[in-house]
Symmetry: C2
Subunit: 322 residues, 2 copies
């Protein structure tokens, strides 16, 4: 074995093995932990990193649940980071997961993170995009056809005789929002006489939905839309709270309402909510399956799995049929 | 500097600094990543680990939100692990966080983890218990008085004239469940003629609540309780779905219902839900504050912060007053 100065002068002679043996032996006397060393030795940890846009959205916790179940079965743990629709936080989590040499990363991306994921891949950390259809075809993805989902939602409102549709949108930085809007526009385009108003909401949360609902209440009844399609169920729940509880608006007689995601609460709301169902747990499971295969064999070609969304009709559009 | 064999024989001579310099220099030539080394060098990472019982419970995501906001302000990231009421998973996350030499750990404990947390403390990783009142006084804790919460809930049902109370309990391994039950028993004890039936639910989830509700529907109306107190709002939402939508039970006329946590959805349910409010975000923020102080000064005495819960009365117990 060489001296430490040799190590410094001739790094090419040092194998990771040697270094980790040093560290491990030091640890046994309690001077320094050998866990980081163990990670160096093993090459990667037994962890999968998952970055979601909003951990308080039941859609994402259902995705996480699916991912955890599949990962646990393979002896791995999932660590969850909440980017909160913020590129800085998203990037901080990817840095962390890289430092920890995770087994792989699932990410529901907010910004443009292709180059960052390329970095990770060069470091031997595969990444799978979750809930994002694959225009970035360099990375495998598991998603739902959001254009079809938007079309389903608005075609259903039009079929219920509604013509003045409002889309309650979140940030257009979120691809899912843009695609659901595209689907909504497609539906409107085939129905002459119908209109689509896009109303910004500050975030895809219950509170932001409540505020949007209050703003609609401030309009005269004639100026309100007769059909509302919300970017997700949280916003729809907030809108419901405002319209029904503050405004005594009759749903669906005066305004019909469609959410998105079909979260567990959608069927328990004050007026049970029509929604677009996404197979959230299956998305998480499938993403882990692909990730594990890519971790074992980095030469695999990227795959793109796209699930079809499903319309679930309840009281908020169809009246007394639950 | 000594030889590597010296290192092995005389570990007391090796300072972490030396080791990390070695590792860092190796990295510069691309042989090995220096991130694990950087963690060794810095002593601890910029991460805080948070282990919650159920990430799909909005109470815990609100705690996480509070923790994230406070941690981010201090330049730290929060990684979330979901123990899912499972000691094996809880322990796997604590192992992971130890390996990563996190800055500190917040944990809403499921099992008896005192000895494990002592380990972490010896390694220089402080821990704060979240949502658990401190009988384990060796560790700081931030919690809500769950006995008082249980008492508030059942005293309210008794004040509404209900006498046959059912408590829909989760696992008695969960301290919060035991304490809420204790509070319920205290209230019953002071009201002669009232009874408390404890009904097990399989988990503190919407689905488990729905199943419990269906079992109540299978009883004759006379054999049903006239007041139900649920361990949390998720269970209460499930019970509501079953009683109202499947059974056409009138809430609160036939059965009055109280949940726990006052999650965002509680006011938007098919019958708006009376609940016990806990200051979830504040719990997360306070826990981070204490953790950061203990990370800076390990000699600090453990502190125990206990918030008082609050009764929020809505339609599910009080009828048409929203």
């Amino acid at each position: 074995m060489g001296t430490v100065s040799n190590v410094l002068n001739h790094p090419e002679k040092v194998l990771p093995d040697t270094v980790s043996k040093v560290l491990a032996s030091i640890d046994s006397l309690g001077f320094i932990r050998n866990d980081a060393a163990r990670q160096l030795r093993a090459g990667r940890s037994k962890t999968i990193g998952l970055v979601v846009l909003d951990v308080s959205n039941p859609f994402f916790t259902a995705v996480a649940r699916g991912a955890e179940d599949k990962a646990n079965a393979a002896g791995l743990s999932v660590l969850l980071g909440n980017s909160d629709d913020d590129v800085t936080r998203e990037s901080a989590y990817l840095d962390l997961f890289e430092e920890q040499r995770v087994h792989g990363v699932l990410v529901s991306p907010f910004g443009e993170i292709g180059p960052r994921l390329e970095d990770l891949r060069r470091r031997g950390i595969p990444a799978v995009l979750v809930d994002r259809s694959g225009d970035d075809s360099r990375f495998s993805s598991v998603s739902v056809d959001d254009v079809a989902g938007g079309r389903l939602a608005v075609e259903h409102l039009l079929a219920q005789g509604r013509t003045r549709i409002a889309f309650l949108a979140g940030s257009s930085d979120i691809r899912q929002v843009r695609e659901r809007l595209q689907g909504a526009r497609d539906a409107i385009a085939t129905h002459p006489g119908s209109t689509l108003e896009v109303i910004d909401v500050e975030a895809l949360t219950v509170i932001a939905g409540r505020i949007a609902g209050e703003q609609l209440l401030a309009r005269s009844a004639a100026e309100r839309p007769d059909g509302i399609f919300c970017s997700n169920d949280l916003v729809a729940v907030g809108v419901l709270q405002a319209l029904v509880m503050l405004g005594n608006v009759r749903i669906p007689e005066e305004i019909a309402l469609v959410g998105y995601d079909d979260i567990d609460f959608a069927s328990a709301t004050v007026v049970p909510l029509t929604s677009i169902r996404q197979p959230a747990q299956l998305i998480g499971q499938t993403a882990i399956e692909i990730l594990l295969e890519e971790a074992d064999d980095p030469s695999l070609e990227p795959r793109h799995v796209v699930f079809q969304p499903e319309l679930v009709v309840r009281h908020s559009t169809a009246g007394n049929q639950r």
